[in-house]
Amino acid sequence: MKRRSFLTGAAALAAMAVAGCGSKESGGSSSAAQKIDANTEAELTLAYWSKTQTATVTENIKSFNKKYPKIKVTTNLTGWDNYFNKLRTQAKGNELPDVFWMNGPNLQLFASNDMLEPLDAITSLGISWSKYPKALVDLYSYDGKHYGIPKDYDTIGVFYNKALFKQAGVEVPKAGWTWDDFHEKAKKISAWGKSKGIWGCASPINIDAQSTYYNTILQAGGYIVKGKKSGYDDPKSIEGLQCWADWVKDGSVASPKIVTDTNPEDMFKAGKTAMTWDGSWYAGDLATTIKGHEDDYGVIALPKKEKEVCVIHGLSWSVSKNSKNKAAAFALAAHMAGEQSQKVEAKNGTAIPAYSGAADAWVKTFPKWDVQVFVDAATTHSEPYPVSLNSDVWASKEPDYFIPIFSGATPAKSGAKQMADFMNAALAKEK
């Protein structure tokens, strides 16, 4: 699949958003971006969810304060698990942080309910939309307005532990590998490592759809959501769920129980699993932990089935509609997503920066790994993360139906059908 389809996919999504909802008037505050200089005094709050990105966030706020020394920025870190629950609750009480990370699944919900400030005027602060991938700019647009400046993007790959492959006597994966290759390798390593508590593969199938089954569903030729219709009862989608159940059943992949009790990222770092499906965001975290042993690890694109495809997503910086210091908040968002900050993200290996041309610098921070696969996946064979107007309603239900499938308690077909029914009802209720 070519980049074009990725782009049209995202464009269709944005179009759907435009068609789907009659939005409310958004107050005319396009002048908000103008009145700010080095003497502006303000206090801002900034929220994000990844502890591993704290160093980069802090560094970028520091450079922001060089330009605007009298603007005090307080950061607010909440774990991913509860980030959006907290944000939604804050929104209810008009207490949203001034500037915060936004993701695709929540953008439409927040934008359509008038919680976000349109950012179109931010171009006066040096933001140029053409400098960011169009798919991401579209993902963060709603009703023809921009509600988020892309910060980074992420794709999925397989991280593997060369040392464990060697000990188990299994050849490391090669580019162009298939589900069958993956399964065979995982099975062999599990058989070898069982007594030592080592798995062929452990991935967050219990909680992280983006790293795991969203990809297999697309690879098998299925889909997750199209307009107001769930794709989970599509036979191809069911195949993308069934594979995990099969792999868990014969012990190639760690069961949902195991990866709930111990985070697969930690298992991988501790040498308890030879492979893990994870996002490009994990590279920086892994590199820090295993410093000095980079040669023992490798990265490869996801195995393919019917087609080679991978889910792409990216984060953005958004500004609260009710921010009391909009001009300062605009300046901060512009700075955090601007060229200088994006280069810091790249240099620190934090995440693949969305800013045009900065991805190469990110790739260079991992000289021993082929992390180029993440960038290539984005440009050659990715599909946008599936979202709807109020994604969390159905997305938060996925574990209830899918974990029993993966652990073998429910047949994939009936579990997927129930999920599809639930999801169709939820999609019909969206307005």
Partner: protein, 320 residues
């Protein structure tokens, strides 16, 4: 002059003193009752704003549907309640909540035994034991929940290491196995409630007159008989108090589950309590109407059980 009067004379303007001359103070009527009423009124205002108004507001919301952020309320009658009672997760949440409450209630007899031993006359280092039992109560549930999560870990948790050492080849994954998980959580709940129970019961024990025991031993009653016929009956008010508190606490089960179960746990739906269900509806699914309806169900539930307990107490609680 009474002592109070003397103090009043020394301190700054003493409100409410009925001076015979009837001198009026600014903003205060001459009657004695006004100032106390002002203070009580202030407190009542706080209670009304922070306790009663939320209850009223919650009842109103339970008959409404709003958008994801609580805006555009629309009156929908009892639709939220209908949807709630049609949802099978309500019944399973009630079941989980009851199971948890029953197991935690078992901690009360255990606490009675512990407290009676700690308070035995002649025992040394009593305050040390009291402190040891009370300490877990001081730590935050979230923090100890995390520690217990590690204890229960199926791969490397200390519990399973002990079991493996004892020859159990395949010990369970405690808090991720549906069916097991709620029991594992309840055991933790029982453990963490003992400290509070013991302190309440200890003070209850200290209120029992030594003379009763002396009289009993003169009559030839041994330790066990004394415990059965003096200690337990005279402790019943404390036990009753703990029963009520534990039941209400059990129905409000949330923090422990939040700390130990979390999203994506295979046992999540089998450990869901009423409050977790409420949280999920109101804050994850942004369905405040149904969330509010769940809160009302919890309120009614607690009220009914407490009324039953108060009626039942007449049969077994001794107030001397």
């Amino acid at each position: 002059m009474s002592e109070a009067g003397a103090r009043g004379a020394m301190s700054a303007p003493r409100p409410g003193s009925a001076s015979p001359k009837g001198r009026r103070r600014r903003g205060s009527p001459t009657s004695v009752g006004a100032w106390p009423l002002a203070f009580i009124g202030l407190l009542m205002l706080g209670v009304a704003v922070f306790y009663y108004w939320p209850i009223v507001k919650n009842i109103i919301i339970s008959f409404q549907q709003t958008n994801a952020f609580g805006g555009d309320p629309e009156f929908v009658g009892v639709d939220n309640y209908k949807a709630l009672f049609a949802d099978p997760s309500l019944m399973s949440s009630i079941g989980n909540t009851l199971l948890y409450t029953v197991i935690v209630l078992l901690g009360i007899p255990l606490s009675v035994a512990i407290a009676s031993m700690i308070e035995l006359p002649g025992l040394r280092w009593k305050s040390l034991y009291r402190t040891l039992f009370f300490m877990p109560y001081l730590a935050m549930p979230m923090a100890i929940g995390q520690v217990w999560k590690i204890v229960y870990n199926g791969n490397f948790g200390i519990l399973n290491q002990v079991l493996r050492a004892l020859g159990v080849s395949d010990p369970p994954y405690w808090i991720v196995t549906p069916g097991f998980a709620i029991v594992a959580v309840s055991i933790f709940g029982l453990w963490s409630s003992i400290g509070f129970n013991v302190i309440i019961l200890s003070s209850g024990l200290k209120g029992i007159s030594r003379e009763l025991y002396e009289a009993a031993s003169i009559d030839g009653a041994t330790g066990v008989k004394q415990f059965r016929w003096i200690t337990v009956p005279l402790l019943t008010p404390s036990i009753f108090f703990l029963t009520i508190m534990t039941t209400i606490g059990g129905f409000q089960l949330f923090d422990v589950l939040f700390a130990m179960i979390g999203n994506g746990n295979p046992a999540e739906s089998r450990t869901r309590s009423l409050v977790t269900l409420f949280y999920k509806q109101a804050f994850v699914n942004s369905d405040q109407g149904t969330g509010a309806a769940i809160a009302i169900v919890i309120l009614v539930f607690v009220a009914i059980v407490t009324v039953i307990q108060f009626i039942g107490q007449k049969k077994w609680v001794n107030y001397v």
